[in-house]
């Protein structure tokens, strides 16, 4: 039993071990992932060990990860870099960008070629029907429904400026980008923001509206790296300069969007066509749809178990310390409750500046989430113990610790177990979001599926996560049946 525990701890902690290789990141969108995969394979071809942290939430997540050194390089766009991240007034050329980036120890490597600017898009049929070709035409159709990605609504170079420049009458709704095309297809919204090289445009028969007032700046894709990246690695990535024009990029994106090939496959084909991979190199990219399910499942278990363990180790003693004082208990419950109200995505994002990306910040965020149910269950169950039993056990000569161990904890156990179960199940659900900050787990296929508009892929993550929650529930009920006398069990477990 003890050996099993040691093994379990070692396995749980293994997730926290740092890696000593180059780390390539990317944002969540599929073009970003594909470019990240191209960077990774290019670096591998140049002899580097590469770790992939592809699909890191939004721009700010990837940027913070690069700043904190959690990743070494990720694909970024000049417009985003200048206007959103460096907060400049315009989009200057690379020399000026690099002067600005010097201050934060970053470097922009030569651009890949294409300009993936923002654009507004709508159904081709509807555009023709209404005679809309340019963004300027929209002002005459205030009945149109806009669903824009959250990032676009917020960005300096996004909706606020666009609305002002064109005098647009709309109040947009926020829609997850991966779902926006489906929403247009289902006639829930009429317009959304898109990237001009988006591979999905053709599939959904969408048309890009002409930016007739030249509002959108240039979004030239380039590898954004830490200045400390070795010269050899920088040179390797610079070899990609100018190789991808708009048509080429759109074609590669389309192969991903139509599920003709995996990211690894499409990246490999591209590099091979450019002669940047050894000709005889065995294709390592498998054709299988999602071959990481086992890994994801284990990662998910690690995340939830470790966070739960931490929450028990901290929450129980905390509850025992404060439960006798109504004021302290209230204070602790208030703080724990406050943590619970922070939206999980926001909490994860808040973790990045403090703990970087990956396993550690995810564990800490999940730990904070599981604290409330555990502390609350512990405090209430300790408080509801008949005080006479406490008095009698004292009167018999039990020391405080004996009383805790033999009377208080066993009597609190039924409700406590329910609290821990609740925390475990919340954790299993919330841990799917950990993929946004590169902690892996079952969220990985889910966020990838969202990015790719691939519902099957979403199910690859969602179904095991749901099963895991159900199995957890059953295991807890089993534990209750095994360790808690029938007459003391909670209402739920009796059913």
């Amino acid at each position: 039993m003890q050996r099993l525990l040691v093994f379990l701890m070692a396995w749980l902690l293994a997730g926290l071990a740092p890696a000593a290789t180059l780390t390539v990141g990317s944002k969540l969108d599929s073009e970003g992932r594909l470019l990240g995969e191209i960077f990774a394979q290019k670096l591998e071809a140049s002899g580097f060990e590469v770790e992939r942290q592809l699909g890191l939430g939004s721009t700010s997540v990837a940027w913070q990860a690069l700043l904190s050194g959690e990743i070494d390089v990720y694909p970024e766009y000049t417009g985003t870099l200048a206007l959103s991240l460096l907060e400049l007034d315009s989009t200057p050329g690379r020399p000026r960008l690099n002067r600005e980036l010097q201050e934060v120890d970053l470097i922009a490597l030569p651009a890949l070629g294409f300009n993936n600017t923002y654009a507004l898009t709508m159904k081709q049929s509807q555009a023709e029907e209404l005679g809309i070709e340019r963004i300027g035409d929209l002002a005459e159709h205030p009945q149109l429904r806009l669903g824009l990605s959250h990032e676009f609504i917020q960005r300096n170079d996004g909706w606020p400026g666009l609305k002002e420049r064109y005098g647009l009458p709309f109040t947009p709704r926020g829609v997850e980008h991966g779902l926006a095309y489906e929403a247009i297809n289902a006639d829930r919204i009429d317009l959304t923001d898109a990237y001009s090289t988006d591979g999905d445009l053709e599939r959904f028969q969408l048309v890009l509206l002409d930016d007739n007032l030249d509002y959108f700046p240039q979004y030239l894709a380039l590898p954004l790296a830490r200045a400390s990246l070795s010269a050899r690695a920088q040179a390797s990535l610079s070899e990609l300069a100018g190789l991808l024009d708009e048509t080429r990029m759109q074609a590669l994106n389309a192969r991903i969007a139509t599920q003709e090939g995996s990211f690894a496959q499409v990246a490999e084909d591209f590099l091979q066509e450019e002669g940047l991979l050894d000709a005889g190199r065995e294709g390592q990219a498998s054709g299988r749809k999602w071959d990481k399910l086992g890994t994801n499942l284990l990662e998910h278990l690690q995340l939830t178990l470790l966070a739960l363990l931490l929450a028990c180790l901290v929450g129980l003693p905390l509850a025992i310390l404060v439960y006798r004082s109504p004021r302290l208990s209230q204070g602790v419950l208030y703080v724990a409750g406050l943590l619970q109200t922070i939206p999980s995505i926001a909490l994860l994002a808040l973790m990045i500046p403090l703990f970087g990306i990956g396993f550690l910040p995810a564990i800490i965020a999940l730990f904070l989430y599981s604290l409330l149910p555990i502390v609350r269950a512990a405090i209430t169950s300790l408080l509801t113990i008949n005080p006479l039993l406490v008095q009698v056990s004292s009167g018999m000569g039990m020391t405080a610790s004996e009383q805790l161990r033999h009377i208080l904890l066993p009597l609190a156990a039924p409700n406590l177990l329910v609290g821990i179960k609740t925390a475990a199940i919340i954790n299993i659900g919330t841990a799917t979001l950990a993929a946004f900050i590169g902690a892996g787990g079952l969220g990985e296929p889910i966020v990838t599926g969202l990015a790719l508009n691939d519902h099957t892929l979403v199910l690859y993550g969602a179904v095991p996560a749901a099963l895991m929650a159900i199995i957890t529930e059953l295991l807890f009920n089993l534990a209750e049946r095994r360790w808690i006398p029938a007459h003391l069990r909670g209402v739920q477990a009796k059913a």
Binding site: Q391, V392, L411
Partner: protein, 242 residues
């Protein structure tokens, strides 16, 4: 060993905004059954709980077998003082056997020693050993009362405190428990302090009687003397009420 089991000297004790005892002096005999009697609110349970340190006097001293109570060392002292209460308060998560043996187990007794002691107590209390594996909610009130007494006497303590410990059951069962208690007391003569509001019970079980009214001892003497020569009208009235 002194001839006193418990001595209160100059004990002051009050609650919130109400003073109860002011300079109480009282000595209880060793190896005898002392009954503290009086109407509710007279402070008899308070006295009892000052003996095992559940309550601490505001001033004055409580000595048990000649030793002043050391409030930093209560668990050790309390293991020599059995304690049973009216509500019995068996631990609901433990079987009858585990309830009785809980302190013996912590004291490191062997299984054999525990089984032997429980067996002896059960014989005296007319309890069936088939009850041992049941949980408290699975036995009757009278059985629970006797199990509570067994638990209090498990460690064979030289001093036993009983706080209305016979009053949770119907009169017939009570008489039965009384006689079982007396049989055991005969066998294991120990110092007992018994709190009761029932004069009849006090006269029946006690070797020494302390009659209280709020904050004050009305009379402390052997029962025969109390009956023959009540110290004052209040005592006489309490005797009539039986």
């Amino acid at each position: 060993m002194t001839h006193q089991s418990v001595e209160f000297s100059q004990v002051h004790k009050g609650f919130a905004n109400q003073r109860l005892f002011e300079g109480l002096d009282l000595e209880l005999p060793a190896q005898q059954v002392t009954a503290l009697v009086g109407a509710s609110g007279c402070g008899k349970s308070t006295l009892l709980q000052m003996i095992n340190g559940l309550l601490q006097p505001d001033a004055g001293q409580v000595r048990v077998f000649g030793e002043p109570l050391d409030y930093r060392d209560l668990p050790r002292i309390r293991r020599k003082i059995g304690y049973a209460v009216q509500q019995i308060a068996l631990f609901p998560h433990l079987t009858v056997a585990a309830n009785i043996a809980v302190m013996a187990r912590l004291e490191g007794w062997s299984e054999a020693a525990m089984a032997q002691r429980i067996s002896k107590l059960f014989q005296f209390m007319y309890l069936d050993e088939a009850l041992l594996e049941r949980y408290p909610h699975e036995i009757s009130g009278g059985q629970a009362q006797r199990v509570g007494l067994c638990r209090a006497m498990m460690l064979d303590p030289p001093l036993l405190l009983l706080d209305e410990a016979f009053s949770a059951v119907d009169p017939i069962t009570r008489v039965d428990v009384h006689s079982r208690f007396q049989a055991l007391q005969e066998a294991e003569a120990r110092s007992v302090v018994l709190v009761t509001h029932d004069m009849q019970e006090a006269l029946k079980l006690a070797d020494y009687l302390v009659v209280l009214e709020p904050g004050r001892v009305l009379q402390a003497a052997v029962p025969e003397e109390v009956v023959r020569q009540p110290a004052n009208e209040q005592v006489a009235r309490l005797l009539e009420a039986r």
